[in-house]
């Protein structure tokens, strides 16, 4: 059993993949808790697609991913600001628009290059097994910077999430705090995009924190649980995809397997919690005379 879990990491590339996933797990787990508190899951989805054309351009011309991501992220933010000033346009709808059109933009850019299909696959789903030393260092630097910023602004960010008007009344620059958090989310996504790809990266931010929230209520423990859960799933996902591919001929894509582990973990925790809830609250159930209409809630 032990061999089964450790044996895959006898090669360098598997060890590097594991280190990368653990680093991303720490970063994504912590950032995810702030995303959850601010209810920014949809924004995270938007950022993930908004940076895609920039990453695609940088990928095609061989420039820094971060610069490309920043440029296209800025374009999306500008469009969001201009569009949401129009009364007919709902902010949610505008974000869906950005998701779809920026993604399309990225696809068009990649399709100009040769090897469209394999490039697109790499950008969308990542290449965790080909992470090299330099990329590991990049990820570590981004993680340290983001975590330091979050630690420094922790109490202000929590206040802003809990009571935005109170925070504004107390004189905090709300817009600046929001910008900082959005930048941190963007950096996290750019750091993770090479390993996990544009479409799956949101799972590393949202899923660990959502799972942790089901288990604990306080912010500190939530971060610890989220980080541990992300790390554990990264390890398990690599093991499953390695064992599946090497010994059973299943050809499981590593990044997608890791995300499946996160999702299955979340579903198991949610189901376990629902069972506990039902068992505990059964004796209290009140009799109702009229069957309850399904859509009766306000």
């Amino acid at each position: 059993m032990w061999d089964l879990l450790v044996e895959p990491f006898s090669t360098d590339y598997m060890r590097r993949a594991l280190v990368e996933l653990v680093l991303l797990g720490v970063l994504g787990g912590v950032v995810g808790v702030y995303v959850l508190l601010r209810r920014l899951a949809f924004i995270t989805e938007v950022v993930q697609h908004a940076v895609f054309p920039g990453i695609a351009v940088a990928f095609v011309v061989g420039q820094s991913l971060l610069a490309g991501a920043l440029a296209s992220g800025a374009l999306a933010v500008a469009l969001l600001a201009v569009g949401s000033r129009r009364r007919q346009i709902d902010a949610d709808a505008l974000m869906a628009l950005l998701i779809a059109t920026f993604f399309a933009f990225g696809v068009v850019v990649v399709s100009r290059g040769t090897g469209f299909q394999s490039d697109l696959t790499a950008l969308l789903f990542g290449r965790i097994l080909s992470v090299d030393q330099r990329e590991l260092i990049d990820t570590a630097v981004v993680a340290v910077v983001c975590l330091l910023v979050l630690a420094a602004l922790h109490k202000e960010l929590v206040l802003r999430a809990f009571d935005p008007i109170g925070a504004e009344a107390a004189g905090y620059p709300i817009a600046a705090l929001d910008l900082v958090l959005n930048l941190v989310v963007m950096l996290t996504i750019v750091a993770a995009v090479r390993a996990l790809g544009t479409v799956l990266v949101v799972a590393f931010v949202v899923t660990p924190a959502a799972t942790a929230r089901l288990l604990v209520r306080r912010i500190g423990p939530m971060m610890v649980v989220a980080v541990a859960f992300a790390g554990l799933c990264g390890w398990l996902g690599l093991v499953v995809s390695y064992q599946g591919s090497v010994h059973h001929g299943w050809r499981l894509a590593s990044g997608a397997t890791v995300v499946m582990c996160l999702t299955v973990g979340f579903v198991l925790v949610a189901a376990g919690r629902a069972v506990v809830h039902v068992v505990r609250s059964r004796p209290v159930a009140a009799p109702s005379r009229e069957p309850r209409p399904a859509a009766a809630r306000p």
Binding site: R87, A286, S288, R289, P291, P293, A295, A296, P298
Partner: protein, 255 residues
């Protein structure tokens, strides 16, 4: 309407208890409203006024007691009950014009798939005329003022030709013209035998618009003719220290 429907009261509440999930929001409400009668639901925020209205509509389950609407169950009476929401609760940017909103009251008569014909449009315009807004029929709903939107929603209820009218805080934040117009329309409907139930914070408007009142604060404090139900000690029991008794016997509610 048939003769037998005039014999039964418009609304009968019999020891009603209503609940979201498992905690009762409202208990022990009993009383009735005759055809052409009118009832004010009065109580502090969160006392259960909106819950009672939704229960009468059959949209909130009752966990105890019985509600009878126009001689039948709430869910069967639905098409014959008109509901006037607070205008503020609706999306201002929604692309519908005023006449379309009023026509919505007639959709059950028009039926699935069919389009409104000339007679329905005439009825809707007539209802709109009653609230003094016929000239705004083709403006977008969202460009009207708050009071005008409230009047359009009342016109929608008029166009529905219902037997019972339920209004959620109809006088909340509206101008004097709207208050007068709403009172006049409600008076006209009652003369035709329509029963009116409204929740309100405003004791003076309640006196003008209604002849009975139900005082609520999670349970029923009083139900009866408005002068008796809104006595000083009962208001005190409902509102606690926010009820101020002035010299001369008038009670004010501090909000």
């Amino acid at each position: 309407m048939t003769h037998s429907r005039f014999v039964t009261p418009a609304l009968v509440l019999d020891n009603v208890a209503a609940a979201y999930d498992r905690d009762p929001v409202l208990e022990g409400v009993s009383g009735s409203v005759e055809r052409g009668g009118s009832l004010a639901l009065i109580g502090p925020n969160g006392a259960g006024k909106s819950t009672l209205i939704k229960a009468i509509l059959g949209l909130v389950p009752i966990v105890g007691g019985r509600i009878e609407v126009l001689g039948t169950t709430p869910s069967q009476a639905r098409g014959d009950v008109a509901y006037v929401p607070q205008a503020e609760a609706l999306d201002h940017e929604f692309p519908v014009d005023v006449l379309q909103v009023v026509l919505m009251g007639r959709y059950r008569r028009i039926g699935w798939v069919w389009r409104p014909n000339r007679a329905h449009k005439a009825a809707a315009l007539e209802a709109l005329d009653e609230v003094g807004l016929a000239h705004r029929a083709h403006d977008r709903f969202g460009v009207l003022s708050g009071g005008q939107r409230q009047r359009v929603l009342l016109a929608r209820a008029v166009a529905q030709e219902a037997g019972l009218l339920l209004l959620d805080e109809p006088f909340n934040g509206v101008d004097a013209t709207t208050t007068d117009s709403l009172l006049a329309v409600l008076e006209g409907l009652r003369a035709k035998g329509v029963a009116v139930v409204m929740s309100t914070h405003d004791l003076s408007v309640a006196h003008l618009a209604c002849d009975a009142a139900c005082l609520l604060n999670h349970h029923q404090v009083a139900f009866g003719p408005i002068a008796e139900a809104l006595s000083a000690d009962r208001l005190k029991a409902t509102y606690g220290s926010s009820a101020l008794l002035l010299e001369g016997g008038t009670t004010l509610i501090a909000r």
